[in-house]
Amino acid sequence: MIEDELVRIWQSSPNQERVKFEKSRLIIEVQSTLDQFHKGIKYRDLMEQIAAIVGMPVFAYYAYHFPYILTKIASVLIIFWGIFVIIRIRSAKKHKPVSFADSYLEYLYKSREYLKVQKELLDNILYWYILPAMTLMFMFILGPGVSGRIPKLMKTGAGIVAIGIVTYFLNKRAVKKQFIPRLEKIQKLITVMESSQ
């Protein structure tokens, strides 16, 4: 088969399928789908902010209401930690490639960078999310003291540790199953594109 034949076969598709579009409706539909797209992004951002905003007054109330110094300190630190978590997640999102007008290679570089940042976020989750959260929750529950509360504290403590361990392994699994294969695929494509350049 000669090479021109490949081009001819490839371009024979208009004889087999046709795109039809109604111009007047198309513009209206495209604009309305874009509005939905922006609404989706706004909704996601709103949910994150609501979670932080709801959590903050609750722990601010605890800090004000509970007489125990350790609980007060833990509540204030939880508020700051919540703010830190949101900033950390949002700053990782900034690396996401958004422009469809980049070249393919630029897109691959940006995707690799984005996945690396996200992977690093999950790899280090023990230090910036799980350990601070567990420490602060222990401080919070230990605030009223331990006398006469040991069985209850043991149960709550075990629950906190269990949640921490599950969170840790779920994130490790996500890194292994989702991020590493994607990073490897992107690296492979970059190698294909860069080789013999």
Binding site: M1, E3, L6, V7, I9, W10, Q11, S12, S13, P14, N15, Q16, E17, R18, V19, K20, F21, E22, K23, R25, L26, I27, I28, E29, V30, Q31, T33, L34, Q36, F37, S99, F100, A101, D102, S103, Y104, L105, E106, Y107, K188, L189, V192, M193, E194, S195, S196, Q197
Partner: protein
């Protein structure tokens, strides 16, 4: 968006729709996904229209967006089909087989299947080559040098020819 831009968009879409659809076809598993990818490309072209800088031709720029949309959305979104935005204003019609040669149809299916077996990067380069884009424009879209595009095209064509012969 002003009327001039809207008209430019519609005109360019009319001129390039078949080419864009062909590119989508090598990234789609079935006809529905092809339509979804095509619609998504149309939406993103429209969205990016105000930022078009005329450094490249409008059709090259449309190819670039379409390739990027297909590469980003193919497998990831196939599992979440409902995420695609549905538009009734675009339809894709299959023409009855009597109007087209059966042999041509078979060959096209064979070629598309062989292209689908390539990796994403090779698929992007060969689909642009088959649209008869010059190496310079393929280089602008993919971000690799013209020389490298030429090397890639040569290698991919060999792969494709072998694949088609094997299937014949």
């Amino acid at each position: 968006m002003d009327q001039d831009l809207e008209n430019t968009f519609l005109r360019a879409l009319e001129q390039n729709q078949q080419k864009l659809l062909r590119i989508c076809s090598v990234y789609a598993e079935d006809a529905d996904e092809k339509k979804d990818l095509f619609q998504e490309a149309v939406i993103n072209i429209w969205r990016a229209m105000p930022s078009f800088e005329k450094k490249a031709s409008l059709s090259t720029w449309m190819f670039r967006i379409t390739i990027n949309v297909c590469l980003r959305l193919q497998s990831r979104e196939a599992k979440k089909r409902d995420r695609f935005r549905k538009m009734d204003s675009i339809t894709i019609e299959n023409i009855k087989h009597e109007e087209t040669s059966h042999e041509d149809h078979e060959r096209l299916i064979k070629l598309r299947n062989c292209i689908k077996k390539l990796n994403d990067a090779d698929r992007a380069v060969i689909s642009l080559y088959l649209e008869e884009l010059p190496y310079k424009e393929i280089s602008e879209i993919t971000g690799v040098t013209e020389n490298h595009v030429a090397v890639m095209v040569k290698r991919i064509k060999e792969k494709l020819l072998n694949c088609i012969i094997e299937r014949s």
